[in-house]
């Protein structure tokens, strides 16, 4: 079920009605939320709810054992079982065809004639999110960083909580499970703020991503021609805005919906396009994934504790796997590799050049960071390397006489939206929406809210999927 759909409006109204009715005690409300979460997922593909159940049962059992066992070997075996099941799901459902394709290509490259039939495996929605979430639980249990979940119901709800089930934020157990222990009710202020977050999240998705930007990005990346530089840049900028509004929009909706229930989810984006440098970017973009990769991959690989070479290896591996997490294609690996290179270059430069950041050089550096990020988005969006290569050449003005596929109006539209996005991120980089809302006159804020709602209605989004559902 999509947040930007009529069925979700009905679903949410029913869930909120039941949640705030006096029909149920807290335990039954949690049962209702769990059932609602399975319905939310099952309305997409009912049989794949079984994967959620398996993940839940395996990790609950592993967590229970990890809490009581003292024998380190046995504890490791339980952890490995959890990792094997979750990563096994990912390997089979997400990377099965990719692995087979590359295996076939490898055999053909060494002269062995082999043709494999694609397995055409359906990719369960949100599998990368919920498997990472449940793995964080067992890893934290193994490292004795958290207490085990008090009840199976609390744990099952942690794995399946519908606002963040299919596209995050990837929430750690200590941030969410403990909230289920005592009855939660949103205060009026929280409830209304949750509604506002849901509105602005939908505005980002339906109006900004789908209505204003996606068409231009699709026209440019779908073109088979070598493009004019302006078209290549416009398409890439449009995609940079589209993916931000799409994903940040989803996260904002998720946080807002959870808040309607009185549950707090962590921020997933903090105005990333105003980042100064790439370490800053990854503290602001998809925060729940980057912190997951830092805690469960980069640091276990050695982090910065074993010298500079080991640190660069750890960083590169983390970014490569981070790229692959996004999709089973080499273009995503290149995207990750570029970010790895950026981070390494940044660390080298930071040692050599000392700059005191102020408002003037800050915005230039932020713009430079954003420009470099756009180069990486080309590989993220292009389905084939040939498309990415042509786009990059056009963006560096190396394709003379490239084809013009965009009308002037579309170029102006994208440039205005992206300029607004960048300036908004720059202005907001050290503050928060809530802080700004708090300082705004309530009547002005009400008019702004009404405008968001009106534009969502007149955009009539036709239920476009969120981009990150495929990851």
């Amino acid at each position: 079920m999509l947040f930007n759909s009529l069925s979700f409006v009905v679903f949410l109204a029913i869930v909120l009605g039941l949640y705030y009715s006096r029909l149920f005690a807290w335990t039954n409300k949690k049962r209702m939320l769990l059932l609602a979460s399975y319905v939310f997922y099952g309305l997409w593909n009912p049989p794949l709810v079984v994967l959620l159940w398996i993940s839940t049962v395996v990790d609950w059992t592993a967590g229970k054992k990890l809490a009581v066992l003292e024998n380190q070997r046995k504890r490791k075996l339980w952890l490995l079982l959890s990792l094997f099941v979750n990563l096994g799901f990912l390997a089979f459902f997400k990377y099965g065809d990719f692995l087979l394709e590359n295996f076939t290509a490898l055999l053909n490259a060494i002269g062995v004639e082999y043709t494999a039939r694609p397995m055409d495996i359906i990719l369960p929605m949100g599998i990368s999110f919920y498997t990472f979430q449940t793995m964080s639980y067992t890893i934290d249990m193994y490292n004795r960083r958290i207490e085990r979940a008090r009840t199976f119901l609390d744990f099952a709800l942690y794995v399946t909580f519908f606002p963040q089930l299919v596209a995050g934020p990837i929430v750690r157990a200590k941030e969410l499970i403990t909230q289920f222990y005592e009855e939660k009710r949103a205060t009026t202020q929280q409830f209304l703020w949750g509604l506002f977050l849901l509105t602005i999240g939908l505005f980002q998705k339906v109006v900004l991503a789908d209505t204003l930007l996606s068409g231009t990005a699709d026209d440019v990346f779908g073109s088979r021609d070598v493009l004019h530089s302006l078209d290549a840049w416009t398409g890439t900028l449009a995609f940079s805005g589209q993916i931000f509004f799409d994903f940040a929009g989803y996260s904002t909706c998720a946080i807002g919906i959870a808040l309607l229930l009185g549950i707090h989810l962590p921020d997933n984006f903090r105005y990333p396009y105003a980042a100064i440098g790439f370490s800053d970017l990854w503290r602001r973009w998809h925060i729940s994934l980057s912190s997951w990769l830092r805690d469960y991959l980069y640091i276990p690989l050695g982090g910065n504790r074993h010298g500079i070479t080991r640190m660069y290896v750890a960083l590169t591996l983390t970014m490569l796997l981070g790229g692959l997490w996004h999709g089973a294609a080499w273009t995503f690996v290149v995207w990750g590799a570029l970010h790895g290179i950026y981070l390494i270059v940044e660390r080298l430069l930071r040692g050599a050049i000392k700059i005191k950041i102020n408002a003037w050089n800050g915005i230039i550096l932020a713009l430079l960071t954003y420009t470099c990020v756009n180069i990486t988005w080309v590989f993220f969006r292009a389905r084939e390397f040939s498309t990415a290569k042509n786009m990059i050449l056009s963006m560096f003005f190396l394709n003379e006489d490239g084809k013009k596929v965009l009308y002037t109006f579309d170029i102006i539209k994208v440039m205005l939206v992206i300029l607004g996005l960048f300036l908004c991120h720059w202005v907001m980089r050290n503050t928060s929406m809530k802080a700004v809302a708090g300082k705004t006159n309530p009547w002005v804020f009400g008019v702004f809210w009404a405008l968001l709602f009106f534009f969502i209605v007149i955009s009539q989004g036709s239920g476009e999927q969120f981009i990150y559902f495929q990851f």
Binding site: L6, N45, T188, G215, F409, A450, I458
Partner: protein, 345 residues
């Protein structure tokens, strides 16, 4: 932060703005309209999950969709029309789907618009992909998508501003379409002529010519210009050999299951008829199809009563003449005894 105050104001203003938007579009002569989308097609296709003897399936493109009126068909034949024609597409992907994936063995009426029927078997070509995407949607649609469609119907029926059709009509009033009207200049080539809606659809996919397209010549002319715009460019040549072979293979399979196929060529006139006569000469395409398939076949030009019908935009019949065409065609079928269902005899 006084969110209560902001919320009350936002609710009131938001509601007023939406009501104003609705009145504005009604004042612009936009009326509530059902969209002929993939969900509506899938509902028709689902009727073939447990096919019955009294069903007659229609496949083809927009002409048979406009020219056959479901209510009259139901009334005069006593059979249930299952309308699976897809606008601007080849009927071949739907034929294959019915043959391979259903137990249907009744009568299938194939609308033959030569430019689409003989266009291609290449999966990525638009006439093929449009029809195949409907078949795939039927197979892949989720329960949430079914629910969304059901919930959208009351809105489509009652609100004039709910117009974001799958065909991307220029008369749609969603924000994306409205913004696209602001395009000027020729940076990316000449702007295409606006393609205005000329259909009215009911929930059983009974499609009729919009009254405005019949009565308002200027409006009908905008559609004629759009046809010329669409058809004047370089178009890939027809692939008669592969389309014919594909059709014969699946028609034979369908007949072997016990089904019957009837071919129908619906009317066209004016500029459309002229270019069809040039590019798809009857002797070379239609007659060849009839000869090779040996199926009961009906070309409108062979019937004097079908020669001077009203086609406001050259390609589809007006509502009145679609009624006439349907009634007459049924009468011809009955006279020829080609409708095998007991209820039609």
């Amino acid at each position: 932060m006084n969110l209560r105050k902001s919320f009350i104001l936002a609710s009131a203003l938001g509601l007023l703005a939406v009501i104003g938007w609705e009145f504005y579009w009604r004042a612009q002569d936009r009326l509530p309209n059902i969209d002929d989308n993939k969900d509506l097609w899938a509902i028709q296709r689902s009727k073939l999950k447990n096919p019955s003897d009294d069903q007659v399936v229609f496949i083809g493109s927009s002409r048979i969709l406009f020219d056959i009126q479901n209510d009259l068909w139901r009334k005069h034949t006593g059979t249930d029309p299952v309308m699976l024609a897809v606008q601007g597409s080849s009927p071949l992907p739907v034929l294959r789907d019915i043959v391979e994936n259903t137990d249907f063995k009744g009568t299938m009426i194939v609308g033959v618009t030569s430019g689409l029927f003989f266009s291609t078997t290449f999966p990525e070509a638009p006439p093929w992909k449009r029809a195949q995407s409907k078949v795939e949607y039927f197979n892949d649609r989720t329960y949430a998508q079914r629910l969304n469609h059901q919930l959208s119907i009351p809105l489509q029926k009652n609100l004039a501003f709910i117009r974001a059709g799958e065909e991307n009509w220029d008369t749609d009033v969603d924000l994306k379409t409205l913004l696209s009207h602001q395009r000027k200049g020729e940076r990316a080539g000449p702007l295409p002529s606006p393609f205005n809606l000329f259909e009215e659809v009911s929930l059983d996919r009974n499609v009729q010519m919009l009254e405005r397209a019949t009565n308002d010549t200027a409006y009908a002319n905008t559609i004629k210009v759009a046809w010329q715009d669409i058809l004047k460019g370089d178009r890939p040549p027809p692939d008669k050999a592969s389309t014919m072979a594909f059709f014969l293979e699946y028609a034979t399979k369908f007949q072997e299951k016990g089904g019957q196929i009837i071919l129908v060529r619906c009317p066209s006139n004016g500029w459309f008829k002229e270019i069809e006569a040039k590019a798809f000469a009857r002797s070379e395409f239609w007659d060849s199809l009839v000869l090779q398939s040996k199926l009961p076949s009906y070309h409108y030009d062979d019937y004097p009563q079908f020669r001077n019908l009203n086609l406001p935009e050259w390609s589809h019949l007006s509502k009145e003449d679609a009624d006439f065409f349907t009634t007459e065609l049924i009468s011809i079928f009955k006279n020829d005894g080609v409708l095998t269902n007991p209820k039609t005899k």
